[in-house]
Symmetry: C2
Subunit: 109 residues, 2 copies
Amino acid sequence: MKRMGMMIGIRADQIEEYNRIHAAIWPEVAAVISACNITNYTIFLKQPENILFGYWEYVGEDYSADSAKLAASPAMKRWWAVTDPMQEPVATRKGGEWWAMMEENFHMD
Amino acid sequence: MKRMGMMIGIRADQIEEYNRIHAAIWPEVAAVISACNITNYTIFLKQPENILFGYWEYVGEDYSADSAKLAASPAMKRWWAVTDPMQEPVATRKGGEWWAMMEENFHMD
């Protein structure tokens, strides 16, 4: 299992709507996330910096393949078409990233 | 169980040392964290912004009492005397906070 942390900005005027849609995530989106071996997924918000932190646990064997499968899913494409304009990715993200991945530097069970 | 997310800055010149000491956290510090009902604790780092994101799961019944117990522990006081000067708390943290707590706005198992 691999723990993954990621960050992105959110537009101040979109926070309420972002929270609203995430309180009722489309079932087909939740299904494809689970099918891609992502579990225990939480998003946290810090205001007034308007930073989102995502945390999930990847329980599959091939993250690269599973993230490609996620990205190819019609449900995710529809979802991201809604959420991407709400977000403001950090300028320092790596090529191919939207949310910028973070480095795990401590863990205890 | 309550999932908690928190953020703080880290001094660029302290990152290497911060990682080094967290790779060998004192056993008495790990013991008191566990005794205070904190589990699945991970810290992530984002460079070059030098932001730390902490995630843990609180499995006790009274977080206020457990966090007071944590803060009163001699082991934690010694640990924080080392780590506090490495960190740069965000200006927008609430009264009594060091790490700034974040709001959970999405979760799926």
